[in-house]
Amino acid sequence: MPAVIEVRDLTFRYPGAEVDSLVGVDLTIERGDFVAVVGGNGSGKTTLCKTFNGLIPHFWSGEMLGSVHVGGTDTHESSVAALSHQVGYVYQDFGNQLVRPTVRDDVAFGPINFGLTDHAERTEQAMAQLGIEHLASTFVWQLSGGQEHLTALAGVLAMRPEVIVVDEPVAELDPVRAEETYRMLAQVNAEQGTTIVVIEHHAEFIARYARSVVLMAQGAPRWHLPVREALSRAEELAEHGIPAPQVVQAVQALAPEAPVPLTVEEAVTALAGSGVLTGSGVVTGSSAPAEPRATSSRGPAVARLEGVTHGYRDVHGHLSTVLDDLSLTLHEGERIAVVGSNGAGKSTLLRLLTGLDVPRVGEVEVEGISTRSTSAARLADHVCYLYQHPEQMFLQDSVRQDIAMFPQQRRRPGTAELVEEILDRLRLREVADRDGRTLSGGQQRRATLGIALAMTPALLLLDEPTSSLDVGTRRDVTAMLAALAERIRCVAVATHDMHLVAEWASRVVVLHGGRVLADTTPAELFDDPDLMAAVHLVPPQVSVLGRALGIHPPPLSVAELTARVTQPVAAGVR
């Protein structure tokens, strides 16, 4: 296979930076490959990818040594405009990449700017390829996140590039949409031989779609290996913030000699082949989950929704019903995950509980107070709502002021001590005087949790608290949510993140078509594949693996799986 990208001895430093972002990079990417670039934050992944389309050095004019050749052209001699025929780039915050009012107009933007006479054909073809023709005349601000991503990708495809770089598709998309993006990329890769480069944290996607993996560390590739070999280095990957897929962890724990599995099926084969499962018949249904979390006796009610119907009007005046005669009670001590596909009404449900909106029909009560009888500002003494995008919560000049804002404004006694305690508890002291917007994703989440703690609400509502976080930070947030229990009577989270559901929730409310489709526990939810498919959710790999091995209810973590598989086997041997 000839190389499409050749990087030789590349060193780059951003203007004004203290250290080199890239240090002596040597890398060859073959034509038609599907490459995953992985590495911790600040390892130079994004910087490396920006050298492929000439943004470095032509747009970011830092100090550059060494060379990058794309399709035989030296990017130094070329220009961003010329290179954009060869390399397409889909950003992590792809929404900001769309610059025209409608989808068709945006997809055609590149081809028209470059004066390609077949622009109409290219545009239609790109949209058809990604299955978004029906959106052609939709305004871009009407699109969902997944549709925006496909539109950005179509804009890139319409240029018919040799290489497509996609920066962290999973960060801003729910897993099902991300899956769709990956299937599209795989299809483009297979049909047109386009080289795909993805920057990715999620090892499960890498395992299933990538053919080779580049591990970046301190501004240079540590290695570039075929995917199976790369994933077998689980420990090294975990050191760089990319925990191996759960199936890899499970197989390495149970059958270390077996080949590294890339999918659940391969894991089942590996485990079956290694003889670990000889006692699997005994496993079925016999042992209880390691840690039963569901409490049968429910505490007193914290909030109640009674026969709630709500909806919004769109720009054409149509009323769409989001919640349809929904009744739900949230109890003290519960950790509730509200799940469901996009548009199922998760965010609407949370908004109604804050009292920002009142329902068209029905009643919402928080701690016995009807939201119709009081203002949202007064209800804020009882409820706190954290937005999906943390930067929308930063209203003051520093994290400290943001945390202090609520108790200070309401003249609560002991505010100063409370703020200092929260800063310590959430490890925010070093960044306390910085503007929240300048923090990293994980720090931003911690800061918003700090704002919530200072409000000391009875009911805490969070919208997608783990979206756009890397795996390590996600763990951190999950742990912090678990620690909130002592201060807050009830926590409800709207989420797509099934790992969060598995590790944290005690109760799962499944919304579908504006109603509660199921009200259950995580283990029971993952044990019902029909239900999961109906609401477009993907269970954690370890639960799928557990089910495939005949364990009911399925395990929620790798530790639980290994415990439940090995115990009976050990007994059988004895």
Binding site: L55, V80, N113, F139, L356, S375, A377, Y387
Partner: protein
């Protein structure tokens, strides 16, 4: 008082109305015409009122643009604001005239000015409610406006809904995290002061968030050939290929000119001036 979800006269409604106006979603007579012709049509009504002091002529022109507003389906929010503005302004001018011992001449001079401004406002409403962002920016390119201006127009439209939502979210954040007002004060002055300070304070986080976003946009524009298109004619020709002046467009312009001429003829036959000539 129990709170209720309202579909009109709420913040949500104002947002939707602005979008409907900006994106010409209601259709209407002018929205089907070539955008350059619409701009030309607008220019006629923006210039002509300044050429006369004849109140009869101005009244006919005002009537013409009022009809244009109706057939262009201007939404209730914009129209309502216009009517309120017109009524308030007239009332206060009349009051002033009366206070300062004005006579019928003063009133007529004021009517002249009000009619001129009213005609132009009505014409702008009719024209801009009929131009969606793509058409407007393409018309500007075709009329040789600077590329940055026409792009700015289309990008501004694209950002409008995002900025409105973001602003609303931040204002809500202030509402929730500030202390609720204990008393509203006489005529609710405390509430008005609170609202005004919140609106100003909310502006700053919104601008910072927006500034952070545009970094990607600027890079994306570069990779998607925006700078390249500024230097080459190819893209411009392709983009404008669909613009075509048809028979209906010509008819529109001719009818407009005939009606304007008719306004002047009527004015000449039944002249009415604020000051005797």
């Amino acid at each position: 008082m129990a709170r209720k979800q309202r579909d009109v006269m709420s913040v949500e409604w104002v947002k939707l109305e602005l979008l409907r106006t900006a994106y010409a979603t209601r259709g209407g007579l002018l929205s089907r015409r070539d955008p350059r012709i619409v701009l030309g049509w607008y220019l006629v009504f923006a210039v002509v009122p300044w050429l006369t002091h004849n109140i009869t002529t101005l009244a006919v022109l005002f009537g013409l643009t009022a009809v244009a507003v109706l057939v262009s389906r201007v939404g209730p929010l914009i129209l309502g604001l216009f009517v309120i503005g017109l009524v308030l302004e007239s009332t206060y001018l009349l009051l002033l005239a009366w206070l300062f011992d004005g006579d019928i001449t003063t009133v007529l001079s004021l009517v002249t000015l009000t009619l001129k401004l009213g005609t132009i406002s009505l014409a702008s409403m009719a024209a801009f409610v009929s131009l969606d962002p793509e058409k407007l920016s393409d018309a500007l390119i075709s009329l040789r406006a600077p590329a940055l201006l026409s792009f700015g127009v289309s990008y501004g439209y694209r950002m409008l809904p995002i900025l409105m939502t973001e602003f609303h979210t931040i204002v809500n954040g202030f509402r929730l995290r500030s202390a609720p007002l204990e008393r509203r004060g006489i005529l609710g002055w405390r509430a008005v002061v609170r609202l005004s300070t919140t609106l100003v304070q909310a502006f700053y986080p919104m601008m910072l968030n927006t500034a952070k976003r545009t970094r990607t946009t600027v890079e994306a524009l570069e990779t998607r050939g925006f700078t390249f298109a500024g230097e080459s004619r190819l893209g411009r020709d392709l983009r404008l290929a669909y613009l075509r002046v048809g028979a209906a467009d010509v008819v529109l312009l001719v009818v407009t000119l005939v009606l304007v001429a008719a306004a002047f003829v009527t004015g000449a036959q039944v002249p009415l001036f604020a000051q005797a000539r």
